[in-house]
């Protein structure tokens, strides 16, 4: 791990430049995610500012960008719709507390148990849901809307070939907003959906009754937000680790996310987390250190304070076009190959994760279902023992424990054996618990009743230890 000084000032020029690039790319996303959540654009912008600035200091992965995200916005939709924004602020604070607890309990270690299949399902369903959220903003509004979405998409995919320094979405926004304003084309703008106030966020205490009832309302949302935020943040930190060939402190990151959300709720922001897309942009633009995240947050706020009047004039179709690009970038396109090539069970886990998320609009439910399902598949897989017969030698393949002991007994129960003596070979197996030992004793007794003596071969040391611990349990000798 690098020294703190290195993490802050090891790459000053690259960090400042990339921070500016990220701030420019963050604005449309923060606004779009606010619209998804059903709140004013300022809520997402304040969140992005507060989280980015704080995580620069308290995060565990230098160079990673955290802000308002689509994954979190999707979870909070019902809360905002039914109870209003003050409950969202309260839920954000509680999300922070839960994440701080998770971080302190070293929950990052548990994230290792989230299988790839679930992670792939996570990003795919996220992309699908963000896309679905864009549909009402361009489908069946006007022909000009389609034209602007199409032009935006063409611009964001072709411009990077010619202009590398300025992010393409920014050029598309500036050019198309100017065209929309000067040509007088009728298009819905961001201003039609909410306000931009050119002020810094200020300290507030959420206006909710401090009762058990409130807690009961916000807790399920906060728990979902905490899980989704940590899953995406830890996945992103692994990607940044890989891109920069450096290591990061996952538990510190979890705690840092918690601190950032806790404070964020008191400053009128919505819960957020790390962003895969923005972090990739940051590293590709030369960002490596904490300074890049700080600059991204500060420059974003600066832009809003200076250009707020213009931001509200951005046509919605342009924002929709940029969000479609974000979806395409988020989706894991190798998934189609994965469904065909990966083990059947993995492909099913991935698809189930996607289906449940798209069904419930809650990424945390998909993650939990995916983890549970793959755990079941895992138990089923290791709880089958296969026995191969070679003459009078029976070779056991697989693990012998409580879940597989029945299969082991049944094999010998149903097997016709002519020999007077057989060998059971454990060179490809291992006995894990007393059920495993019991099933072996049972088989020995059963066969001896049939006049067949049993020789057990090739037991490894730990299996022998378990057997010797339980010796003298057999009913006869």
């Amino acid at each position: 791990m690098q020294s703190l000084k290195q993490q802050w000032f090891g790459n000053i020029r690259g960090d400042i430049l990339s921070g500016i690039v990220v701030a420019l790319a963050l604005i449309p996303e923060a606004i779009a995610f606010s619209i998804i959540a059903g709140v004013d654009p300022m809520v997402g912008l304040y969140a992005s500012f507060t989280i980015a600035v704080l995580i620069a200091f308290v995060g565990g992965r230098p160079g990673m960008i955290s802000a308002a995200t689509g994954a979190m916005a999707l979870v909070m939709v019902p809360l905002v719709r039914e109870y209003g924004i003050e409950y969202l602020f309260a839920a954000t604070i509680l999300t922070g507390i839960i994440q701080i607890i998770f971080g302190t309990l070293k929950i990052a270690k548990l994230m290792k148990f989230i299988p790839n299949a679930v992670m792939i399902g996570f990003v795919n369903s996220l992309a699908i849901l963000i896309f679905m959220a864009q549909v009402p903003h361009f489908l069946g509004i006007s022909n000009m809307t389609y034209v602007f979405v199409a032009i935006t998409l063409i611009l964001v995919y072709t411009l990077p070939r010619f202009i590398k320094v300025i992010p393409a979405p920014l050029i598309a926004i500036v050019a198309l907003t100017a065209i929309a304003i000067f040509s007088g084309i009728e298009l819905r703008t961001i201003g039609d959906l909410g306000n931009i106030t050119q002020t810094l966020p200020s300290f507030i205490i959420p206006d909710v009754p401090f009762t058990f009832e409130t807690l009961k309302i916000i807790f399920p949302f906060s728990l979902s937000l905490a899980i989704v935020g940590l899953v995406e943040s830890l996945l992103t930190s692994r990607i940044v680790d890989d891109m920069t060939a450096t290591e990061s402190n996952k538990n510190q990151e979890a705690r840092g996310q918690g601190i950032a959300n806790f404070v964020n709720g008191f400053f009128g922001g919505m819960a957020g987390c790390a962003m895969i897309g923005q972090s990739v942009i940051n590293v590709k633009s030369g960002g490596r250190g904490r300074l890049s995240t700080l600059v991204a947050g500060l420059f974003l706020m600066f832009l809003i304070l200076v250009l707020g009047d213009l931001v509200v004039k951005i046509p919605m179709p342009v924002l929709v076009g940029i969000m479609i690009m974000v979806c395409i970038g988020t989706f894991d396109w190798s998934s189609f190959k994965y469904i065909v090539k990966a083990p059947r069970t993995d492909a099913i886990v991935m698809l189930v994760t996607v289906i449940i998320v798209v069904w419930t609009h809650d990424l945390s439910k998909g993650v939990i279902a995916g983890v549970v399902l793959s755990a079941i598949f895992f138990v089923v897989k290791i709880s089958t023992v296969k026995i191969v017969q070679e003459d009078n030698r029976f070779i056991v393949h697989g693990q012998l424990f409580f879940a597989s002991s029945d299969g082991f007994i049944n094999y010998f129960k149903n097997k016709n054996i002519d020999a007077k003596q057989i060998q059971i070979d454990f060179s490809n197996s291992r006995i894990w618990d007393d059920s495993g030992v019991a099933s072996l004793i049972k088989v020995e007794e059963m066969l001896e009743d049939r006049g067949i003596s049993v020789v057990v071969l090739e037991l490894d040391t730990s299996s022998k230890k378990i057997i010797s611990k339980l010796q003298g349990m057999s009913s006869s000798n």
């Binding site: 990003v123 990607i239 890989d242 060939a245 994965y338």
Partner: protein
């Protein structure tokens, strides 16, 4: 002569052809070493991480992608070292070559994807322009 040779590889057949030439040159000079550099593009990082269980598994997976070249070098009985870098292939190879002060860069002329080459320009061309030592582009 050329003692420290950088062989840029993308794991393709072209890279194997480049490796053949690198071996020819290396075998002219005793004590020469071939430095095999394999660059993983930034854009692959997300997908690679998603599809691997751990960073160790990922490293092995990436080494496998370069296996054709490594197998050839093993059989050719030359001394070599491998590095896996992550970034933009062209600039990363140039940076590595200049930092390690290699005597010669050997690189295949065409990578895996000809469409990409049309859009982004060829990596070998970029490397040849910016590297401080002689470069051999293998057709």
């Amino acid at each position: 002569m050329y003692k420290h040779i950088l062989l840029a590889s993308d794991g393709s057949e072209n890279a194997v052809r480049a490796a053949k030439e690198a071996v020819k040159i290396a075998s002219c000079t005793p004590d020469s070493i071939i430095e095999v550099v394999y660059v993983v593009d930034f854009d692959k990082a997300k997908s690679d991480v998603l599809h691997s269980n751990s960073s160790i598994a990922l490293e092995i997976e990436r080494r496998k992608k370069n296996s054709k070249v490594l197998q050839f070098l093993n059989e050719a009985n030359v001394k070599y070292k491998t590095s896996i870098l992550i970034g933009n292939p062209g600039p990363e190879i140039v940076k590595f070559a200049n930092e390690h002060q290699v005597d010669l860069v050997v690189i295949g002329s065409r990578g895996l994807n000809s469409l990409q080459e049309m859009i982004l320009g060829s990596v070998s061309h970029k490397v040849m322009k910016r590297v401080n030592c002689p470069a051999l582009i293998v057709k």
